[in-house]
């Protein structure tokens, strides 16, 4: 088996989406804060999205299981890429190996996709909505 760039990028978007479903107001504030923010996920599946404006904690275990590469933890650093563009650099830790990936996305598009009907439909289908996966990949710059 192998892990694709698309899968990794979608995982980052999905983690933000879980944070959003947990605390819509704070997640939006963080991702629109125009400053640097971080997303971390530890070995027990505890995830935190944080910035100087605040933080959201949530469980990211089920999101990570979908990658299927026994990833132990995740660290993503986000920075302002100008306008509504956010740059990110992510590392996925597998204890004896690491995977790093970078990219950027339009935060407005991500937030819109997560508050819109498409996002709700995807959640109702437990994230197995192919069109939605494609949409997330596109937004995350893949």
């Amino acid at each position: 088996m192998n892990v694709s760039r698309g899968e990794l990028k979608v995982t980052i978007a999905k983690l933000i989406e879980v944070a959003y479903s947990q605390d819509k107001g704070m997640t939006t504030k963080i991702v629109r804060s125009k400053g640097a923010f971080k997303l971390t996920l530890d070995e027990n599946g505890n995830a935190t999205l944080s910035a100087t404006v605040g933080k959201v904690t949530f469980s990211g275990a089920s999101t990570l299981e979908k990658i299927g590469a026994n990833i132990k933890s995740v660290n993503v650093s986000f920075s302002n890429g100008g306008g509504s563009i956010v740059n990110y650099h992510a590392t996925f830790d597998l204890k004896v190996a690491k995977i790093a990936i970078s990219g950027n996305f339009d935060v407005e598009k991500l937030v819109t996709s997560c508050s819109g009907l498409l996002c709700q439909a995807a959640r109702a289908m437990k994230g197995r909505h192919q069109a939605y996966e494609m949409e997330l990949q596109r937004i995350m710059g893949h």
């Binding site: 192998n2 597998l94 204890k95 004896v96 190996a97 690491k98 790093a100």
Partner: protein, 144 residues
């Protein structure tokens, strides 16, 4: 007397030859490992290529964990490589491309175990463009 000198000389030459250490070509080991991954033999031959510490994290009955053995398959075409060596450890940087042409680098830590050079740690860097290629050997554990 000349016979004794000759024997002594040949003993010295012999001893020098035995003490001479050959510089390991880590890139060659990586290419061999990639070949095993491509042929599907890497699971059976994993102990020839990976350290004991590395293999502790690999459960061959768990398909998800086999990803750790398959990381080299991300590089389909090697563009450049760099290695640095200490006595029993080495670092190898492989710059290349995935099957779809996307640039990728793998930074590997090799260690000498039972007189064999084996992979002890890997860092797969999925790059956006080839300007991310490093022109030197990167030791993966040193990356922040």
């Amino acid at each position: 007397m000349p016979k004794i000198i000759l024997v002594a000389l040949s003993l010295i030459i012999c001893s020098c030859a035995t003490n001479q250490t050959t510089v390991p070509d880590l890139q060659k080991y990586f290419v061999q490992l990639s070949g095993e991954v491509a042929s599907g033999d890497v699971v059976d031959r994993r102990e020839d290529y990976f350290s004991r510490v590395y293999l502790k994290e690999v459960n061959i009955d768990d398909e998800n964990s086999l990803f750790l053995l398959n990381i080299p398959s991300h590089v389909k075409k090697i563009e450049s490589y760099y290695q640095s060596l200490n006595k029993d450890t080495g670092c190898l940087t492989i710059n290349g491309y995935e099957s779809n042409g996307s640039p990728v680098s793998i930074y590997l830590e090799y260690i000498k175990e039972n007189s064999h050079w084996v992979v002890n740690y890997m860092y797969l860097n999925l790059l956006e463009d080839k300007s991310g290629f490093k022109g030197k050997a990167i030791c993966p554990k040193s990356i922040e």
